[in-house]
């Protein structure tokens, strides 16, 4: 991209100061015309094209970042199709340190028309106009405020899906000449096909990760990781990869090279993801190979065929509703409560346990249980307690039968409070099929209410608390459970 020569003469310090004073402020006008990005909707109907992510950063966010980098203090996004999700995401722009406002234009409005409609915003200021659906190649380490405001006559980049240019004031637009004025520091690439998306994201991962503001920690070269990411030790991560928040990568998986994993994603055991984008909230099932694909929920898109496959059985893919189940607060609380309980129970458990071993009226059996409605399983030590003997009763009253489970709670493998652990049987699998909120816990909701297992009341309370679970509620449920057992 950068073989052009410098297009403006180097200025003296005084000139720079002068210019800097002249330029009071610059605003950015982002025009999202449906005709430029309609093609995206056929693949991602659920959101505005501008919200499609590259390396877990929405395309619009890249534009906003660049505008701010170029010294824009105010940004207006003008859309000719409703963009509620866009406004929901960017709100007033406080998160980006710029004032972001919105406008609506009509399909087929000319630039002149749009400027007129947004007159109050555009008048007496210089404008950076981003008109179209494209990706801006830039490098955050460069100073674009200087570049754009000092470069005569600004910049004017054009590609097949739009153009980005700078005007001294809105009047200049009418007399604006379309001859391109490139600059070595930035260029724009068209976004006309899914392949463009995939190729750009791969390019960023391979060589330009530190050119952009990507969400997550760039702990090491070629690797960006979000918060609360759980990677099974047997999983292989091949750089470069980008992992979002709340990502769980299970055993024997291979992730990368050039894989972008969005937020709230589970890659299930034995699967392989390379040269692909897994969009937010997707579940990738067992033993799948995802190569040069884009996955969103249950939709698998192959850029080569420009074809979407909607996978209808949840075993392979499924859309996950993002709930707070992954929050760090929760994990911390789980850990602490788990440790406390374990500490309290340790001695009685050993004492009583040894007595009862002699009596042979209890057993610890490792059982596979479902971890979520998708049918992911994990094995736990379940105590089969004989409640008829008095030691058995004491055992239950002190909730010692939960002790073996606390291990996995402390490891963060299991919640302290959740739904009743369902043993991995086909019958239970069916039951979970319409129960997406199911998250099991050592103590479970229905027992805090003292409902009998498999009673209709139990199911109601299980489902009710699953839907309305909050950290606070769970704490209350835990207490209720402990007390219920004591009495």
């Amino acid at each position: 991209m950068s073989q052009q020569k410098m297009l403006w003469p180097p200025l003296t310090v005084d000139q720079c100061r002068l210019r800097a004073r002249e330029k009071i402020d610059m605003k950015a006008l982002i025009l999202l015309k449906e005709k430029n990005c309609r093609w995206v909707r056929s693949f991602f109907p659920s959101r505005h094209p501008g919200m499609i992510t590259l390396c877990n950063n929405s395309i619009l966010e890249f534009m906003v970042d660049f505008a701010i980098l170029s010294g824009c203090t105010e940004i207006r996004m003008v859309m000719d199709e409703p963009g509620m999700d866009v406004e929901q995401f960017f709100k007033s722009g406080s998160r980006w340190g710029a004032r972001i406002s919105y406008g609506n234009s009509m399909d087929g409005d000319t630039l002149g028309h749009i400027l007129e409609k947004n007159h109050a915003f555009c008048k007496d200021t210089s404008l950076l106009i981003l008109d179209g659906f494209f990706f801006i190649n830039y490098d955050k380490s460069l100073d674009y405020s200087q570049l754009i405001s000092l470069n005569e006559p600004g910049i004017n980049l054009t590609c097949s899906t739009g153009s980005m240019f700078y005007v001294e004031d809105e009047a200049a637009v009418s007399s604006f000449t379309q001859d391109p004025v490139d600059c070595p520091e930035c260029s724009i690439s068209p976004l006309a096909t899914l392949d463009d998306l995939l190729q750009i994201s791969i390019r960023i991962m391979e060589s330009e990760q530190n050119h952009y503001v990507l969400p997550g920690y760039g702990s090491e070269e070629g690797m960006v990781i979000g918060s609360n990411v759980e990677i099974n030790p047997t999983a292989r991560i091949i750089k470069p990869v980008i992992l979002g928040n709340n990502v769980r990568i299970l055993g024997e998986t291979v992730v990368g090279p050039n894989a972008t994993i969005g937020n709230n994603v589970i890659i299930d055991s034995g699967s392989q993801v390379e040269q692909s984008i897994i969009m937010d909230g997707s579940y990738v099932g067992h033993h799948l190979t995802i190569k040069q694909k884009i996955v969103e929920g249950q939709r698998v898109i192959d850029p080569r065929y420009q074809k979407t496959l909607t996978v209808e059985d949840g075993f392979l893919f499924s859309k996950m509703e993002t709930n707070q189940s992954f929050s760090i607060v929760r994990t911390m609380i789980n850990l602490l409560v788990g440790l406390c309980l374990a500490g309290v129970q340790l001695i009685p458990y050993i004492l009583l346990g040894s007595i009862r071993k002699i009596q042979k009226d209890w057993s610890v059996k490792t059982t596979a249980c479902f971890m979520d409605s998708q049918g992911t399983t994990r094995t736990f030590d379940m105590v089969h307690n004989n409640l008829t003997t008095c030691t058995g009763k004491i055992f239950a009253a002190l909730s010692l039968d939960k002790f073996p489970l606390l291990g996995s709670v402390i490891k963060g493998k299991l919640r302290i409070v959740g739904n009743r652990l369902l043993e991995a049987t086909p019958k239970n699998r069916k039951q979970l099929h319409d129960f997406p909120e199911y998250i099991p816990g050592a103590f479970f909701y229905s027992e805090s209410d003292g409902f009998a297992p498999d009673s209709p009341e139990e199911e109601i309370s299980e489902r009710f608390y699953a839907v309305n679970r909050t950290v606070l509620k769970d704490a209350i449920m835990l207490l209720k459970a402990l007390i219920a057992r004591l009495t």
Partner: protein, 117 residues
């Protein structure tokens, strides 16, 4: 709701203020009816002081628009608050009525003729 109208070389600017809901929809219909009877056809509705609009309000604007379009005239709306604009967007009104930052530019736009792409 208060409804005031001013003339600006052939373009009528209707200023609304307050809540534009079912309680005032009829009032609005009447007052614009009077304006129509005067043979006026180009309108700018300035909503800078409209704090709230509901479907009845929107409905009465559409009725108004229908009438005006028949008379080869046009209506443009100006200075919507975020609240109001989001409803316009939700009900896809921005596809049928042109939305402007302020009534000045809306008024001007009647004179300047921009070609469509």
């Amino acid at each position: 709701m208060k409804i005031t109208s001013t003339q600006d070389n052939g373009i009528t600017i209707i200023r609304l203020s307050g809540r534009f809901d079912a309680t005032v929809a009829d009032q609005f219909k009447e007052s614009v009816q009077q304006l129509c009877e005067k043979g006026l056809s180009n309108f700018v509705i300035d909503m800078s002081d409209v704090s709230y609009i509901d479907s009845s309000g929107l409905g009465s604007i559409i009725t108004f628009l229908r009438k005006i379009r028949l008379a080869k005239g046009d209506i443009k709306v100006a200075s919507l608050s975020d609240k109001v604009r989001s409803i316009f967007q939700l009900t896809r009104f921005h596809r049928v009525i042109e939305i402007f930052d302020n009534s000045e530019s809306a008024t001007l736009s009647f004179n300047t003729l921009h070609g469509k792409e």
